[in-house]
Symmetry: C2
Subunit: 338 residues, 2 copies
């Protein structure tokens, strides 16, 4: 497993490992500034894991769900999975040369930025289908793995898997150290995220819930069974699809849920509608210097991806969902910052 730098003194780490309950509260959250967000997390964990607490949650029920894009890693200027699909087109052309003269593949191949932004949603869906379906599940995994190895993001020139938020990594480890099982519940592709979630987040494939296409079961030339990825969606895991996906794949209501945009609204609503202690948090991207700033809540610029409108901000205030300000609450955003 890849190790991200984790600036906790070694002695604190050792203490945490040996006696999770005996560690100083919040000792595993060094990238979080002291403030209401960090306090809410520590208080929630203490309340739900202390057997003497009236809000104690038995270990089997300790489920925490995390959106991915914009919550665990960068989603600007566009979702990494979309970049994957666009960058996959040249390889697609090698096996299906006839696509080179067809739209939208011709435009994608041209590399003409101004033409690319004009691609319609339908155009994009054609590229996504071609990049995400039609191959065996094993072929798909090795294609994504190879791309993750060589691809670099345009701003930091880092691997996409390095663009994860250190405070959220710490939060997931802190929850796991306290008996919580951490799940990703993403509008992105379940099969895509599963390729790197274990190495990047310590989350195994069976704890990744996402938008999922079907598969067909057939045989290769040697008579070996093959699962082939299909374009047809079995689960669209966004908005109402998030609680639906949680019910389908986990079968328990989470006690904690983390998101950053309107697509996470129903997951947070469903989580906090349960009895007993529940924690719901939303990451607000308000740090253009260290990451990005977009809303349009609180006068931040609008964004095509990961919209956080004023109505969501108001609902959060009303329902006690905690808004995490990247600028105020996070001492450090990426492990590679020094």
């Amino acid at each position: 497993m890849k190790r991200h730098a984790w600036p906790v003194p070694f002695t604190a780490l050792a203490t945490l490992a040996a006696h999770p309950a005996a560690a100083a509260p919040g000792a595993g959250l060094p990238s979080w500034n002291e403030g209401p967000a960090k306090r809410s997390i520590v208080q929630f964990v203490q309340t739900t894991t202390d057997p003497a607490s009236p809000q104690f949650v038995p270990p089997a029920e300790r489920i925490a769900t995390f959106d991915q894009d914009g919550t665990l890693w960068v989603e600007q200027p566009i979702y990494s999975q979309v970049i994957y699909c666009l960058e996959r087109v040249p390889a697609l052309i090698k096996t299906r040369p006839q696509l080179a003269t067809q739209e939208p593949f011709k435009t994608v191949l041209s590399g003409d930025g101004s033409a690319l932004v004009r691609l319609t949603k339908d155009d994009l869906m054609k590229v996504l289908e071609a990049a995400l379906a039609g191959m065996s599940v094993e072929e798909f995994r090795s294609q994504v793995r190879a791309w993750l190895e060589h691809a670099r993001d345009p701003r930091w020139q880092r691997k996409y898997t390095e663009l994860t938020y250190l405070p959220m990594q710490e939060l997931m480890r802190y929850l796991r150290a306290n008996g919580y099982r951490t799940y990703i519940v993403t509008g992105g592709g379940q099969a895509f995220v599963r390729v790197f979630a274990e190495e990047t987040y310590g989350i195994p494939p069976e704890q990744v819930v996402g938008s999922a296409g079907g598969t067909s079961y057939g045989y290769d030339d040697h008579g070996n069974p093959v699962l082939t990825k299909e374009a047809k969606l079995v689960l669209m895991d966004d908005n109402v699809g998030k609680p639906q996906g949680i019910e389908l794949m986990i079968g328990r209501r989470p006690h904690a849920a983390f998101g950053n945009s309107v697509g996470d609204r129903q997951m947070l609503e469903y989580t906090t509608a349960g009895k007993g202690a529940r924690l719901a948090m939303l990451v607000l991207h308000d740090d253009a210097t260290r990451e990005y700033a977009y809303g349009p809540a609180r006068g931040l610029p609008e964004s095509r991806v990961g919209s956080f409108p004023a109505a969501l901000d108001e609902e959060a205030q009303k329902k006690g969902w905690i808004v995490i300000s990247m600028k105020e609450d996070w001492r450090q955003i990426f492990a590679f910052e020094r």
Copy 2:
């Protein structure tokens, strides 16, 4: 958790708990007679968990999948979930009285056995839909829980959850003691099986994969979010649906798979097509005295449920799948036998 009697000497149990690797091989399988089936299990576990073995399987990859009906519990004379749906009809009539005069509900209410057997598949589907959809996921769980508490099977007059096979319970515990995660992969209803799987088998809801209907997300009169069960199937988890369900819900190929009928064929095929050590086993119901006898393989009577045809028997021989003879391989079938 409910405790099933488990005829292992206490000292052996204590040893197993303290030092799983130090226990005598197969010590956790007292209801299995010595023979090829038990030997295959013990050998598979030793080969895949010994770090010095070339066929060692890392703990994260240790997945074992179990069919339920006919593999973990009795499926004769008809699936327990179908009995649940039929016995649910009187309660349905209370909330929807107009059904009492409509077919097939009228026939079900009549209790006329000869009319009941003549119900078509479409008739049965109407009853299943009415009993399994249209209510919130929480209401459904409490309805099933209440039924399981009072319902008794016609032959042994036991709770349905007592009709589980002790050797398979031991096998699941033995695998878990050796780092395997045990999943149910059933053609039956995922939501139905999840209600009792944790208490009955020690398998949590998130490790139950089954035929699953969709849910709709809405609100009750107080504005609380509600997931309502829908009749529309998201996953038909039988035949090719089993490897498809495994890919959707687990995302890893199992190293061991257990079934008892044609509906499990593709799951076993997919499992054993993987590299390294794999174990595939089929329970053959050849014990009319202690349980039931049906095939039609090996001259056993035909059955409407859980068919084990001669072709499956031949495929098993050819591919090294182990056929478990209830009569020969199981010393004791139920915990309540004494």
